[in-house]
């Protein structure tokens, strides 16, 4: 479960002064649900997800992730999430197996659990062939699989995906969206940010449209269609963003 309440983040910028990258964002995402945070570049998606992942601390407001407070219990939050984005890269000099083992150790798992989980994940994702190959030598698709394996090693109840398909080819992007769907099917709480409308339409149970750091509207796709009397998500997005030109 993820619950964000009035979550705000202000960055100080020498040229622009104080910039509110996220402004009083509140939403709730239940287990077994995919929450899509839809917004243009610079809308505040990454800042919001980084606050939920405790990589950034909120300027005001609060959030709880898997029952832990992001400000008071950041280590517990991180221990219960899997965070994946195109910005979270792999160590080129580690092999696929070493990467997963290393993150297993960082999550405090014992060696027997790491070995068992690694074996399960590698079988499920069909990674055995390249388990001992260094990440630098892997294709983009293989790297994506290693990243997924890294986020799954501790079997987290909450998954956070920040534009995970950005810059990926069709096949690699498809493997990611399949994986996100599987996470929901396993009862995980999933939050997913993107600016790709089709991904949201295909995947998300609830959608939040974010613009200028503010959550402009949220609900199921049907809710939004009714609210804006439009069937096309792109048009809903443009109107909700307050940029109906």
């Amino acid at each position: 479960m993820i619950e964000a309440h009035e979550l705000s983040k202000v960055f100080s910028d020498k040229k622009r002064g104080d910039v509110r990258a996220a402004d009083s964002i509140s939403f709730r995402c239940e287990p077994g649900q995919i929450y899509g945070l839809l917004g243009a570049n610079g809308a505040g998606k990454t800042t919001t997800l980084r606050m939920l992942a405790t990589i950034l601390s909120p300027t005001s407001g609060t959030a709880s992730v898997a029952g832990f407070d992001v400000v008071r219990e950041p280590a517990q939050v991180r221990a219960h999430i899997g965070f994946l984005s195109t910005a979270t890269a792999l160590y080129d000099r580690l092999t696929a197996a070493e990467t997963v083992e290393y993150f297993g150790q960082l999550y405090g798992l014992d060696s027997a659990t790491i070995a068992r989980r690694t074996s399960e994940i590698f079988k499920t994702l069909d990674m055995e062939e390249f388990r001992d190959r260094r990440c630098a030598k892997l294709s983009t698709g293989m790297k994506q699989k290693v990243s997924i394996a890294r986020t799954l090693i501790h079997d987290p109840p909450v998954m956070i995906f920040d534009e995970p398909t950005n810059g990926l080819d069709v096949m690699a992007a498809r493997s990611i969206t399949d994986f996100i769907r599987q996470c929901r099917d396993r009862g995980k709480t999933v939050i997913f940010s993107t600016h790709v409308m089709t991904e949201v339409e295909k995947l998300c149970d609830r959608i939040g449209i974010i613009h200028g750091g503010r959550l402009r509207t949220e609900g199921t796709l049907d809710d939004l269609r009714r609210r804006y009397a439009k069937s096309n998500l792109e048009e809903i997005f443009v109107e909700a963003s307050g940029d109906g030109r």
Binding site: L56, A75, S85, T88, L106
Partner: protein, 382 residues
Amino acid sequence: MLRDKRTIRSMVIIPMVAFPMLFVVIGWAQEKFSGEAEKEVSLVMVYGGEDSPKVVQALRDFPGIQIVPYKTDARQEVSDKTIRALVEIPAGFDASSGSSPANASIDYYDSDTRSELAKEKLQKFFDDYRVHIAREALIARGLPTRLLEPFTVDAKNVAPPAKVGAAIFGGLIPYLIIIFCFTGAMYPAMDLTAGEKERGTMETILTSPVARTDLVMGKFLTVVVASVTTAVLSLLSLGITFALTKRGMFGGAGSTRQISIDPAALVGVVVMLLPIAILFASVLLSVALFAKSYREAQTYVSPLIFIVIAPAIIGTLPGIELNWKTALVPILNTSLVSKEIIAGNHPWTLMAAVFAMTCVYATIGIVAAVRMFNREDVLFRV
């Protein structure tokens, strides 16, 4: 870390292969070229001496010197290095006596090794010739020639080989250790901070439950290990190179002088080195973390080497000594205390002060690095 080519290059390859090769090549070149210069027959012009055939003949017979016909631009030829020296023999040189000594002169080109060697040969010739004339005069007067040498002097070295080694290497070793310590820390520090930011692994690691203080300490210990390993390998490599190629490295001096360095002193130097390695690691991590990319980190870190070299060089200068004031100056204090240890001196109170002060600076450095790692504007600088 050991899979990173840059770290391996700076930590192992350069100290273990490049430096020994450099010294061997320098030694070989020095021996070859200085040996050739010493073997050369020096071309010399003689001005005057028409009325002094004896001295001219003696000079002609002196080994290692060849007299070439005099030209009016003889001085220019010395400058042009076509001849090595010009000797001027005044009129009446052969006929001169003790009551009215003649004054011969040698024109040579200072800074030209071959010209200087020619001057030394000519000076040796005139010294020998002076004794020869005096001996003939004594014989002519029926006096014993031993009057020329009323006494002899023997010089004996009482300094143990370790002290001789300390005099030669006392300044050099701390200087090299400090530089190696710094360069050994440079690449891993940049790689583990700006490099990770650039490659995107920093964000990955920040999503793990590891506390940021633990994260920075892990990186910090890695850099310290790289720094100390580089310095120790460099020392070992230099020691082995020196032992194997004494002649090559130090020309004739090494072969005739008994030089050694007390291994216990080197251990002492390595102990004093630990806090400075910690200081370097923490400062480099803090500075490099600020950069967005490896390349940007290089522009911040490279100038720091001058800040490190300056006190390290000052520490090698004669007259700069370890005292309560210099003990407070970071880097310089380590350089000076290492010099004292290598020289076999153990000013325990000052040594403790230097160690403590460097530990204080290192602690400040670590605190700064931890703070930098907790600053979002540094970690996510755009």
